[in-house]
Amino acid sequence: MSDEIVGEKASPTSGMPEPEKTKAPEDRGERALREIVSGDIGVSVLAFVLALLIGGLLIAFTNPDVTAAAHYFFAKPMDTITAAWNAVWDAYAAMFRGAVYNGQADTFQKAIRPLTETMTVATPLIIAALGVAVGFRAGLFNIGAQGQIILGATVGGYIGFTYSLPAGVHLLLALLGGVLGGAIWAGIAGVLKARTGAHEVIVTIMLNYVALYLLAYLLTTDKFTRAGSNQPTSPGVKETAQLPLLLGDWSRLHAGFIVAILASIFVWWLMTRSVLGFRFRAVGSNPHASRTAGIGIPTTIVLVMLVSGALAGLAGGVHILGTEHQLTGGIAGSLGFDAITVALLGRSRPLGIFFAGLLYGGLNVGGRVMEAATGTPIDIVLVIQALVVLFIAAPPLVRAIFRLPTPRTAVAKGAAA
């Protein structure tokens, strides 16, 4: 089933003939219903529900009220159950309030502000995940989005806070710098893979850490620190290089979100409508056939990594020019690793990634509010995110848990995977 989640990743056995379909033909309505419940979307929704359930169990078990009530569980079992229900409900309600719509706010702006915050946080996630997805669909595991984001933010930020240029030009140049930074960083892995066969997973993981320490070093130099300060923090990005706010001062939502939408459309066009994208996908689904058909594998590998890294670098640039406005050692947070899970959750498709990115952004933003309101640590969000991806990657497991029938397409795919 692995092939399903990373798009058209090559599989050594994918060339073998599909086994004969043994099930009797169904009528159309029955099949449609079956596909909705047990097909891709159904599994995605159920996976999310399942992850929320397990997260809820963790919240309930670690809640002090619940543990207090559990001491007299056999005398009053309902107390424990009520306490558990309250703990989980409060946490998830706070998360929703923090991520989507705050019903307790007095003005509409304040009520809708969480949603704009979710969109802001989702912006770099979506762009970086698009980059990861381009790699996945060409059969390359770019685990190095983290390093590429760091490089993108470093170069983009450096141009942003060092040079003085006219408004539009400065911003474009800084974004371009971010794109280049990410592309070069991923390009190293691409060239090494194409020329020596060094596996991109290892090289990109190692480059993540090299980038981290490189940034840490740069932040100790004069060019990257504020004058007269020992703090490892860069000067602020100049206003000419900042991405403009979209909704005014009350929200952090900036034009980067439009960049994310454009990037999604670009990747859709690239992968489904352009010759280059066709080459990428051909190499991803069958490198041997592609070589026979005259596609240069090494060149394609380098190009895939360049595009993938360029998008991750753009994410880094957008993050610093739109949201952060200054370079710090932890500028990338866990963006690069989140991007991988977002790409997986979105099944490497632009539209899927767009919504998966919003979902992740919402979980992160809502998690902060949840932590502040109910004391439930935000780390539960990581658990939920990881579980969603695991469940989505293994549809048979989800079907087994919910006792769903196996769709006929999945039988064929499962056997071929």
Binding site: L192, G197, A198, I202, L207, V210, A386, A393
Partner: protein
């Protein structure tokens, strides 16, 4: 993860030609590095200063006083020696003879010594402390790398070493705190690693999800789970749940008195001694027993293994679980093996360095240990030099293991090739 290496265009031309090509990689690398050391550390070093190495501790049989050498002259001498080695390597290459491994090792030692002469000029440094610390820092890397290779030898890529170390550290801290016994903690660590291991096996072996994806996601899961439990349970109850005892240093009688070697190898905690045992046991088990042969067969060619009656899936399950226990045990180092209390994300990428050590050690326990020692050394050296205020930015020292790994997988120091079937789920036909 090396499954794709075999598809790389780098077909080996050596096999087709009757006469092997002369390989100039080693002499050129030695020459450049040696020359750089000679110039940077020798000629450009500060003259008139001494570098002092302390090489003995109070409990040794024989007391050797600190050795002070003139920094510049020694560095120049070492540089010349390195260039001689490079010349020797060139001569061997001209004769198309293979270069013994000792040349690289000796060259490395000389290079590090000349670097130390330069960096510690005018100051004093304890060599024993440096080596002792290196071994200690290598412990989680070596355990992690061995956990990884037990997986990969059976054909399952283990990116989740980081997660296994983290849960191991967590489990060891909590159980040791509750029971007030480090030994209970030592038993809990592999069991905690097993949590991640069983998920890895379930998803990769049973459900055949892509192994790299599962590994990456399980690392996120481990960070999330341990951080969540840390904040919600351990922090409010730190006194009872997160204040474990630390492992005592055990002196091995007689052996620990040997100068230099004694304090480095035999004045350590139980975890280090367990590491010695693990390296020997896993080496013998993998390469000298029927079990090991079967495991390697499953990792190299599962179809062939299946044909002769080896249960591929069961072998993989067993090895993934075993590997996660070994890695989990290594996780105990972070809590009861060193600082005591657990803290969030305390493994800080060590699992990925362990992965690198496994590759650099070419999927063998002894090699993994050697690579782990190398990385441990660079880590310790960075700490020591940081304290001594030397001219090298410590960020570059921290980068070193990762750069070395990139160079290694890029084939610049000989081809690195792992088990052929690693990364591919096996589907019985």
């Amino acid at each position: 993860m090396t499954a794709l290496d075999t598809q790389a265009p780098a077909a080996t031309p050596e096999r087709t030609e009757p006469l092997t090509r002369r390989s100039w990689k080693a002499p050129i690398a030695f020459g450049v590095l040696g020359l750089a050391a000679l110039v940077l550390f020798g000629f450009l070093g500060k003259s008139g200063e001494d570098t002092t190495f302390v090489i003995s501790t109070d409990n040794d049989w024989v007391q050797i006083g600190p050795v002070a050498v003139p920094s510049k002259a020694t560095a120049i001498l070492l540089g010349v020696l390195m260039l001689l080695l490079a010349a020797y390597a060139a001569w061997r290459a001209w004769d198309r003879k293979p270069l013994g491994r000792w040349v690289g090792a000796v060259f490395g030692v000389l290079w590090v010594l000349s670097f130390l002469c330069w960096a510690v000029a005018g100051k004093s440094m304890s060599l024993v402390g440096l080596l002792q610390g290196s071994l200690i820092l290598a412990v989680p890397l070596a355990f992690g790398a061995m956990g990884g290779l037990l997986n990969e030898r059976a054909g399952v890529v283990n990116i989740a070493i980081e997660g296994q170390l983290l849960t191991g550290a967590f489990g060891a801290a909590v159980v040791a705190s509750v029971t007030h016994s480090v030994y209970a903690g030592l038993i809990a660590a592999p069991v905690a690693g097993l949590v991640i291991g069983s998920l890895l096996a379930l998803f990769t072996v049973k459900y055949k999800v892509n192994q790299i994806i599962v590994g990456v996601v399980l690392n996120v899961f481990a960070v999330g789970l341990t951080s969540f439990l840390f904040s919600s349970v351990l922090k409010p109850n730190a006194a009872t749940l997160n204040s474990p005892p630390r492992m005592p240093v055990i002196d091995i009688p007689v052996l620990s008195g040997i100068p230099i070697i004694g304090p480095v190898l035999f004045r350590q905690t139980l975890l280090v001694y367990l590491l010695y045992v693990a390296v020997v046991v896993i080496t013998i088990a993998l390469f000298r027993t029927r079990w090991g042969l079967r495991v390697r067969a499953v990792g190299e060619h599962p179809l062939a293994a299946d044909t002769v009656g080896i249960d591929v899936q069961a072998t993989r399950w067993r090895n993934v679980l075993l590997g996660s226990m070994v890695a989990g045990l290594g996780g105990a180092f972070f809590t009861i093996g060193s600082v005591g209390a657990f803290s969030q994300e305390m493994t800080a990428g060590k699992g990925y360095i362990a992965l690198a050590a496994m590759i650099l050690g070419r999927w063998t326990p002894v090699g993994a240990l050697a690579a782990a020692l190398l990385f441990g050394f660079s880590d310790k050296l960075q700490q020591v030099l940081g304290v001594l205020q030397t001219p090298v930015p410590n960020q570059f020292m921290l980068m070193l293991p990762y750069l070395v790994t990139i160079v290694a997988v890029a084939g610049l120091v000989g081809r690195v090739r792992g088990p052929a079937a690693a990364g591919e789920p096996y589907v019985k036909e």
